[in-house]
Symmetry: C2
Subunit: 346 residues, 2 copies
């Protein structure tokens, strides 16, 4: 790789001048500018981001930390955020947290040694001890949370309106005549999980329906957990539900897997709904009713928030709530036909 020195030498100028045309940081004689440009092209010179980052103490890289790579939702989110971040001049790197117990803390430290400018921490699920550590780190490294832990202090974050989503889904199931609706919750203790559950519970209350503790199962957000939750409802639970609502799509998919294996018909015997609208919801049979998030807006908000925090470390921390939309499909409403693509290419 050619360096700025090579360019300077070949163009017969100093490195400073080359740097100036590179960064447009001071006026340069049009003649010399052109010579330099030409040399740059000829040498295929590309400034080293590493050296630049070292000098400027910033890398123009941000990281997004997700709980696992298993959930397509996080991958899709990554894609959206990556796209938008690139528009803002940032590269994005993806970091999974599904290994050790303390791994997110280590990962953050590692990212710091690599000079990332900021971090998007997605549905953080660590323990209280770790969160203290992370809050501490966030004083030095800008962090924006997505679907965050319940913090004592205000913290920059964007969350999906889980209350609204689950209220809508529950209301939909009630309007279909369901009397006993089970709920596959996420891990308790998290604000996101709580908000979603509250949407479900309050909707029941508003319709004067009983809240059965038995009909809530605390699971761990993955397919297998959804499967187990569903087995619990259908095999161990006293009240047999006719509808199951899950705190995310892949748990709903797990639940549907159980139901199919045991020969239950969906939605006739049991209706199922999820949350996220991952592409899987249009791949399974029947297609899954779910709450769709406007990921383009989410991405924009998250990235802007982080960029602002990078540029003004003491900026006020605020939380943004984004509303989605209930998408009704065959897993709750038998009149809806499966449809893999909205528009069929002729």
């Amino acid at each position: 790789m050619a360096t700025i020195k090579d360019v300077a030498l070949a163009a017969g100028v100093s490195v400073a001048t080359v740097s100036r045309v590179l960064n447009n940081t001071a006026p340069v004689n049009e003649q010399t500018r052109q010579t330099i440009q030409k040399v740059i092209e000829e040498l295929h010179y590309q400034p080293s981001m590493i050296a630049r980052g070292m000098r400027k103490q910033q890398s123009k890289v941000m990281a997004i930390m997700v709980p696992s790579y298993e959930n397509p939702y996080h991958i899709k989110l990554f894609k959206y955020i990556e796209d938008y971040a690139r528009q803002k001049g940032y590269r994005l790197i993806l970091v999974g947290m599904d290994e050790g117990d303390n791994s997110e803390h280590e990962s953050i430290m590692d990212l710091m040694t690599r000079n990332v400018d900021g971090i998007i921490l997605c549905t953080y699920r660590g323990n209280k001890y770790n969160i203290k550590n992370i809050m501490q780190l966030s004083k030095r490294l800008p962090i924006v949370f997505m679907d965050n832990f319940e913090f004592d202090e205000a913290i920059s974050s964007v969350v999906i309106d889980g209350y609204h989503g689950m209220w809508e889904a529950t209301n939909h199931l009630i309007s279909l005549g369901h009397k006993s609706i089970a709920y596959i919750d996420g891990n308790s203790g998290y604000k996101v999980a709580n908000e979603r559950r509250k949407g479900y519970q309050n909707c029941l209350k508003e319709h004067h329906m009983p809240l059965e503790a038995e009909l809530i199962y605390y699971a761990d957000y993955d397919i297998e957990a959804g499967y187990s939750a569903c087995r619990y409802f259908m095999e161990e639970c006293k009240i047999r539900p006719t509808a199951i609502l899950a705190a995310n799509d892949i748990m709903a998919v797990g639940a549907m897997g159980y139901l199919r294996e045991k020969g239950y018909r969906i939605p006739k015997d049991v209706a199922v709904a999820g949350f996220d609208d991952i592409y899987l919801s249009k791949v399974i049979t029947p297609n899954l009713t779910t709450y769709r998030q406007p990921l383009n807006i989410v991405a924009e908000q998250v990235v802007n928030m982080l960029v602002n925090k990078i540029n003004a470390p003491n900026i006020e921390e605020k939380q943004v709530v984004i509303e989605g939309k209930l998408i009704i499909r065959g897993s709750t409403d038998a009149t809806k036909k499966d449809k893999m693509f909205e528009v069929i290419v002729k």
Copy 2:
């Protein structure tokens, strides 16, 4: 962040000595070593990988470039490779290529400015012009290919034994009595695609069955392409196939989506099989027959190959072929019941 200077100062030694204990690069007095260690702990000092990389001209980072984030296969592969790379002391970054036409070339240039030590280029699908460029780059930056383009020259790569996989799958379908088996091919012109197709074709030949050109549809490896291919077979094709074999799982899933929408029963009316064994194959109904790849071995081979190339740039280029295993499920064999998990947690 504390720097090496801070440590040296606090420990009353020179930065050189600190560096020595950091890297074990020369004997250091046990006494001073301990003092330095203690200071490091107290200051929570972490050496800057950026500065280190700049000095040593290597980053201990490698990148994996995948055609898109849509295919769960690539994400799973990423996870395996990331794990193994970490064991070898490397960080991995994920780069998607699904944007511009020339984007892979630009991405590689970008990665070079970030000092990545090597690249894993996965199922590269660019045109001949770009491949020339990339081969050129590979002289300066170690690249290992996965499921590669058909090169004129030898090149380090690991490929899955597509010939074997498709031969097995075809043989399986024939043994079930299918007389007309359609094939959803990948883009032609790629060695991987060709090998897989040959497996299918030669198996037919060996069973003295006709090769119908009409029953091969060239598609683009994504769900939608599988859907379209299937529509072509069922609506436009003169010979109506009773089985469809797809060059990867998500095209098979797309095909199944079409069949379900139109009311065909799988496998009774049409049997379907894929290639990859992504988790989706156990989520759809019926579960998909597919060719499973030993991703742990693949990851090990790819990473080792790249590490070797990084350490010895002029090492001999070689190709490794890895064999997988046909997994028979309900999409071809009606006697197999859907089963989301092999082992149910009690």
